[in-house]
Every structure is written in C-alpha cells, then in structure tokens.
C-alpha cells in the first residue's frame, strides 16, 4: 500500500495541483495548475521531485498534515509559517517529516498562494492528462474539489535524498507589472490607455483561481465592451462594461466576450497573482519582444535556482561562496594578488 498524506485540517482553498493540463483549450478546458508556477516548481525541486509531480496549493493558510511514511516536505510561495510538532521550520527549504509528526502550515505573511510539496508527489488519478484541480468544473485533483479534513491522498515512491535549500531567493521583480498591448488594444483610446498604464489599481477581494479583479479608475472602451467571443490567453486583461479590469488566471474560461486591453507579461504574472487583496499595482506597456525576453530570463533564473539547490548542513559553503572569498590572504599577501 502506498504512503498517504493525511489532511487533519484544511484551508478552504487547499487543492491538488500539478503543472496543469495542456492541449485541451480547443475543447474548453483551461490549464489550471499553480497560480505561481515558479514557486510551485521550486517546492517540487526542494523535495527531489521532478517538475511533473503534483503537490498542494493553498490560499492564506494551509492546514495540518500527517504522513504514513517518512518523507521530505517543503513549503514555498511566500514567508509561510511552518511547524513540525509545534517547532518552527523555515519555508523555501526541505525538512524531514516522520509518521506521527504533525506538520502545521500557517498563514502567509506577504503572499496569497502557498505550495506544499511532498517527496514522491501526490498520486491522485490524472484526469485528462493532469492531476491539477479545476474547481469550477470539478475536474482532477481529489474528487475535483478542495480538500477537507479527513482526506487521505496517495503519495508516490519517495526518493531518498538530502534536505535542500535555495542559495539565494528567486528574483521576483519590482515596479509596475509589464503588459503587452492587445489583442483588442485598439478598442481603447488614449484616455483609456492613460488611465490603465498611468493609474494605480488595488487588487479586489473578489479574486480566485479564475481571475484577479482590480479596483481603481474606470477604463472605458471607445469601441464598446462587447466583442464576438474569442480566445482568452493566460494573463489577458478583460475590461467588461463596469470599466474595472479583470486579469484572467490559471482557471480562466477559455473564450470570452469582453475586449482585452492587454496581456500581462508571463514573467510578471506570478507577482501579480501573489499581490495580496488590497495591495497596489500599476502597469507599464512593453513590446512583445521585451516580454518574450523577460519570459526567457525568468525561465533561466528558475532553472538556475533549481540547478544550484544546496544540501543543508554539511555543505553550507557553496563553491560560488568560496570563490567569492579571498582564502589565500595571509599566505601570499594582498599585494601579490594584484596583477
């Protein structure tokens, strides 16, 4: 019998997620998957899982958990409060959890979405090629729903390995969220663009895995707020008749009938997803080429963070760190080191 992750207490938005579904947008099925894919990928890497493994996503706080076999666990997403049998543990690094121990995943201080990865990955049955939960249509995950107290989730074979930590935090970017104008940017005149790219917005409390609604100055579409429905890519900024922009997220509808003023650069979408309700946001226009470069740079930064994960404890000093320190002072003297 496979090992189990036992849910003792669950946040209302605790779901099984993996990288998400692919290839089914034409059939009306959006990808789902994590709201903050880099944080999710790092959680998996920290416990030695491959990128395809499933873990848990939560909003606000996680819950309490037990396991029936020894595993490594890691929590990422933000400054998560984490404990094992009541003793505090650090997020963004992996820890051992033994049967009988209780893992507490408390509130996130500076972020919205947290990730709990368990070595071996969660092995609920895949639906349409993925384990990601799509809450709105009840697809995937555990019975297509958010997890509850008493749920037992099967775990895959646990790989034996050291606990790992990040050498440096994943770069998150700062400043305005970059957007690429379009596909319906021409529906909006200069005044609307000035309000959108020049203004300041706050994230509405009416946000979920489908969309992030924004409050601030109203954006008016000079050509009207109804279009014949077309495809809605991840990060598209719909502007309905209310004039309040809505950014479409992981669990979005695949087509929609509101004009889309712009699309958030994929490199900045996790940062937008992690902005707490009430938090301020502003936008800046960039070219498609700039956004493509940013996407590739973000991909490289994540790959580098995963490649350079360090075992905790014995190898605290990385080679990068050692090379950065002058270890031969006192042997040859600083003058001799000058060229």
């Amino acid at each position: 019998m496979s090992a189990l992750l036992k849910i003792r207490r669950a946040s209302p938005m605790l779901t099984v997620q993996d990288r998400g579904r692919r290839g089914l947008l034409h059939a009306g099925v959006s990808g789902s998957g994590p709201m903050d894919p880099p944080a999710f990928a790092l959680a998996n890497a920290l416990v030695g899982n491959g990128p395809e493994a499933a873990g848990l996503e939560y909003a606000g706080f996680g819950g309490t958990f037990e396991v029936t076999a020894p595993v490594r666990i890691a929590v990422t997403g933000g400054e998560a409060q984490l404990s094992r049998d009541g003793a505090a543990l650090a997020p963004w690094e992996s820890h051992e959890l033994a049967p009988g121990q209780v893992l507490g995943v408390g509130a996130l201080k500076d972020a919205v979405w947290g990730y709990l990865a368990v070595s071996g990955g969660i092995e609920t049955p895949p639906v349409l090629g993925a384990r990601a939960t799509h809450l709105r249509t009840g697809l995937g995950g555990h019975e297509g729903r958010a997890l509850r107290e008493g749920d037992d989730l099967p775990l895959g074979e646990t790989a034996i390995g050291p606990c790992l930590r990040l050498r440096s935090p994943l770069p998150r970017g700062t400043g305005p969220i970059r957007v690429v104008p379009g596909p319906q940017d021409e529906f909006f005149d200069e005044a609307a663009w000035a309000a959108f790219a020049g203004g300041s917005f706050t994230v509405s409390a009416t946000r979920d895995r489908m969309a992030t609604a924004l409050e601030g100055q109203e954006i008016r579409a000079a050509k009207g707020h109804d279009i014949v429905s077309d495809g809605t890519p991840l990060g598209s900024v719909q502007v309905p008749g209310s004039g309040r922009p809505i950014v479409l997220m992981a669990e979005r509808q695949t087509t929609g009938g509101y004009p889309k003023i712009a699309t958030v650069a994929s490199a900045d979408l996790p940062r937008l997803a992690q902005t707490p309700s009430g938090g301020a946001l502003s936008f800046t226009r960039v070219s498609r080429e700039e956004a493509e470069e940013a996407a590739l740079a973000a991909r490289r930064a994540l790959a580098r963070a995963i490649d350079t994960l360090a075992p905790k404890g014995s190898l605290q000093l990385s080679s990068e760190y050692l090379l950065s320190v002058n270890l031969i002072d006192g042997v040859v003297g600083p003058e001799a080191a000058e060229p």
């Binding site: 690429v180 077309d230 087509t255 650069a265 080429e289």
Partner: protein, 239 residues
C-alpha cells in the same frame, strides 16, 4: 477584412479573420487549426479556434511572435478549406420539463405555440462554431432569426448539464452545470463532456447538428442506454 495578427502577450497571438459571426470565416479558422495540427510550425504548442479568430499559443524559446505572425499569414494563403467533410449529429431533445425552463415563456414572447417553437428550433441545421468557455460547451450558429432572444436580465445560478440553450443569436448545447443567463428549451440525453469517456468531448468545432424532439420515455431509454456505456447516437457523416 484582411486577416490580422494581434499580440496576445509573450506566448500567444491571435489570427483575426473577422469581427463578426460568419460561417465562411469560421470554416477558415477551423481549417487553419487543422492545418497547424497536420503540419505543425515549430514552436506552436496549441490553438483555440473561435467564431472569427484562431488563438495560437507558442513557446518564445522556440519561435518569436514576430516570425510566427507572418508564417501564419502565409499558411492562410495556401489554406485548403474543404466544406462538407463535417460530421452531422442528430441530437435528441426532450423539450420542456425541468430543464426546458423557458420554453413556455419564449413561445409566448414569439406568439407561437410551444410545438411551433419546437418545430422551428428543430428545422435548422446548426454548425458548431466553437467549443469554449467551459469543457465541451458547444457554441452553435444557424439559429433561425425568429428565435433570436436576449439573455435573461438575471442569470440563473445553476443550469443543468446537457441543457439546450439560446442566447441572443447563438444557440448552445451546454456541457457542465453552471450559472447562465441564456434561455433553455430542454435537454438532450447525450453527454457532451465526460472526462471518464475514451472520447471525453462529443462535439468539435466544425461539426453540424440537427435537433429532433423525443418523448420523455424515449429520453429515459437513451439515458439508460448511455448509463450502460452504449453509444446510441453516432455522427451520420464521418470526418
């Protein structure tokens, strides 16, 4: 209008053929999607055919939007749009009853009897313009003009799966239960979306649909046959 390439972020672009609902345009959109599936452009990961445009998702690590746009326009130039190859489904409908919530009211609005309305709804051949919004949700063109009806002022919180709907100039076969402001005439025993089925999605863009009324007894017989795993309805024209 001349086809246009619209930016949709750094991992997608839209090939827009029209701003309107148009059968010929939709046929070209579907043909472009099929062409990309049969003869892929490197870097293209997925496409979403809609009424009037094709959303094309790409990997910027493999192809840049600036190069992909012209390649897609060139593909449109040589596109082979073959009409008549579409599958034709005869879709049984149990009109009225619990899911046909708006049949009586719509008949009054249109100053016809419910039977006349059913006959009119069943007289047309519909075309699946796109599958979108929710898994397997079927957007249909071809609704007779007399049946064009504005959406309800207040959407219903839950409309059953497999409901047969009308919203403005559009018609639908709903797939999953959910909120809707559309008008509903009845339900089909067919299941447009079943993730456990070998072919989870019954309909695809480009298919044709004709509705025909069945009695509650016949609908119940079809429900039972489907529940046993039988496939009592197959398309009349193979793709």
């Amino acid at each position: 209008m001349t086809p246009r390439i619209l930016a949709a972020g750094d991992q997608a672009l839209t090939v827009e053929l029209s701003c309107e609902v148009d059968e010929a345009v939709n046929a070209r959109v579907i043909a472009l999607a099929r062409s990309l599936a049969d003869d892929p452009i490197p870097g293209v990961e997925e496409t979403v055919p809609t009424y009037r445009s094709l959303l094309v998702l790409y990997d910027p690590g493999a192809v840049r939007g600036a190069a992909l746009g012209p390649a897609l326009l060139a593909r449109l130039e040589t596109l082979d749009v073959r009409p008549g190859a579409a599958r034709l489904w005869r879709v049984p409908v149990e009109y009225g009853g619990e899911t046909g919530l708006d049949l009586e009211e719509m008949a009054r609005m249109k100053e016809m009897s419910p039977d006349e309305l059913i006959a009119l709804h069943g007289s047309a051949e519909y075309r699946v313009h796109m599958i979108g919004f929710a898994p397997g949700f079927t957007y249909l063109g071809g609704l007779p003009e007399r049946l064009h009806t504005p959406r309800r002022a207040t959407p219903r919180q839950v409309v059953a799966a497999s409901s047969i709907g009308i919203g403005g100039k559009q018609a639908s076969v709903n797939s999953v239960a959910g909120p809707s402001g559309w008008r509903f005439l009845g339900r089909t025993p067919l299941v447009p979306f079943d993730p456990a089925r070998e072919e989870p999605f019954l309909f695809r863009a480009g298919d044709r649909i004709r509705f025909h009324p069945v009695t509650s007894a016949e609908a119940a017989r079809l429900d039972a046959a489907l529940a046993r795993g039988e496939t009592p309805v197959t398309p009349e024209v193979a793709a």
